[in-house]
């Protein structure tokens, strides 16, 4: 909230502004630490999202499994990771989705960083 820093392309700092926006979404994702909560979500996604008071933007992003939209709606990657993990996806799948690559391309990009 204080002195704004130069933005870092492709990177959103999860500060107070994002926290205020994302609270219900992050709270829902935090609940996925419990297996029972995951089952409840999977049994009726809409009802579970409503229970936590997600905004429409957040509900849509959840429905579409859209990582960039989830981040834009205030999602924090640490809590979103519970959602991603529950779907059986890993950080490479999500990395590929966010960068518009195939998973193979994304893995190659990581490997290239070692050269």
């Amino acid at each position: 909230m204080t002195a704004p820093h130069e933005p870092i392309p492709g990177t959103t700092i999860f500060d107070g502004r994002m926290a205020m926006k994302g609270y219900p979404l992050n709270k829902m994702c935090y609940s996925f630490n419990e297996a029972a909560a995951r089952q409840e979500f999977l049994a009726d996604e809409d009802a579970y999202c409503a229970k936590f008071g997600l905004t429409d933007e957040q509900k849509t992003a959840i429905k579409e499994r859209n990582a960039l939209a989830l981040l834009a709606a205030g999602g924090n990657i640490y809590y979103l990771a519970k959602f991603i993990g529950m779907l059986g996806l890993n950080v490479q799948d999500i990395g590929a989705q966010q960068t518009g690559m195939t998973v193979e391309e994304f893995k190659a990009k990581l490997k290239a960083a070692g050269n």
């Binding site: 820093h5 130069e6 870092i8 392309p9 492709g10 990177t11 959103t12 700092i13 999860f14 500060d15 107070g16 926290a19 609270y23 992050n26 709270k27 994702c29 935090y30 996925f32 630490n33 419990e34 297996a35 995951r38 990582a67 960039l68 981040l71 924090n76 990657i77 640490y78 809590y79 979103l80 990771a81 519970k82 959602f83 993990g85 529950m86 890993n90 950080v91 490479q92 999500i94 990395g95 966010q98 960068t99 994304f106 893995k107 990009k109 990581l110 490997k111 960083a113 070692g114």
Partner: protein, 280 residues
């Protein structure tokens, strides 16, 4: 008197836990990473520490945004892992050393660090993966542990300079504990990586190698960065470098490097391993 004998830095990402579970030690992707660890384990077997202070970040298991402390220190008789959202199995609990925990917390609070004391604390992969890399036999718990959890979830994060100072204060706290104990400090996480955003997959090898060098003899140089600098140079999750700085501060001014390893990529990260011994 208690003495910090040295420290170890290591990555803590969940993928390592999976690779261990699947015993991928000789797999070509994993071998260059796992091959770094026998030397670290040899050093630990030689040193025989009584206690490990494990500096890590909670990734949304024990702490939520309703109460997000900057620095939390466990003061529980034992610590338990949990499912974390992807069905991890329960491990045997990690014994704590609540008496030493309280000594450290008292010393730090009197030293003007505003600690959150935790008499119950679930530990996540940030804690369990380094423990499994350094003490692979899960049927044995040869060291008592003191978890030190640092907020890297909700900005503002503590500055690198503050983290180095916290480490120094932990060093003073341990040195003033009257029991004869050997203590190691683990600095977990890092090095460069970014999981979120269009910049996902960012890794900065030059920066990582520079960190691995500077942290040995010149940690003040790293403590000069701002958090924003770290995010820019090391990626959003590369800010975990602050955990290494806490470890480094605790070891005292002079240390010697026993062993190091660096490999890209492990999952989305540049993985750095470092074993440092404190001056006698």
């Amino acid at each position: 008197m208690a003495k910090i004998v040295g420290g170890v830095t290591t990555s803590h990402i969940p993928a390592i836990g999976n690779a261990i579970a699947n015993e991928l030690f000789e797999d070509p992707y994993w071998k260059p990473f796992f091959d770094g660890y026998p030397k670290a384990r040899e050093w630990l077997a030689e040193v025989k520490p009584d206690v490990a202070i494990v500096v890590y970040n909670d990734h949304g298991l024990n702490f939520f945004l309703d109460k997000m402390p900057t620095f939390s220190i466990g003061a529980a008789p034992e610590y338990q892992n949990k499912d974390e959202g992807w069905g991890l199995k329960p491990l045997p609990p990690y014994p704590g050393d609540p008496e030493l925990s309280w000594h450290i917390i008292e010393s730090l609070v009197n030293d003007e660090f505003d600690i959150c004391s935790c008499q119950e604390m679930a530990v996540d992969h940030g804690f369990t993966v380094p423990m499994a890399l350094l003490w692979p036999d899960q049927t044995q718990r040869p060291v008592r542990t003191i978890p030190v959890a640092v907020n890297t979830v909700q900005h503002p994060l503590p500055t690198p300079a503050r983290c180095l100072k916290l480490g120094e204060a932990i060093g003073r706290a341990v040195a003033s504990y009257p029991k004869d104990l050997k203590v190691v400090v683990l600095g977990t996480g890092g090095l460069s990586h970014q999981l979120d955003g269009e910049r996902a997959g960012f890794i900065n090898k030059d920066f990582d190698l520079m960190c691995l060098e500077k942290i040995v003899d010149e940690p003040e140089a790293l403590a000069k960065y701002s958090i924003h600098d770290l995010v820019r140079l090391a990626g959003a999750q590369g800010a975990e470098l602050i955990l290494w700085l806490i470890m480094r501060g605790a070891l005292g001014r002079k240390v010697s490097k026993v062993h190091s390893n660096y490999h890209i990529p492990i999952s989305n990260t540049g993985a750095g391993l470092l074993v440092l011994e404190s001056a006698a």
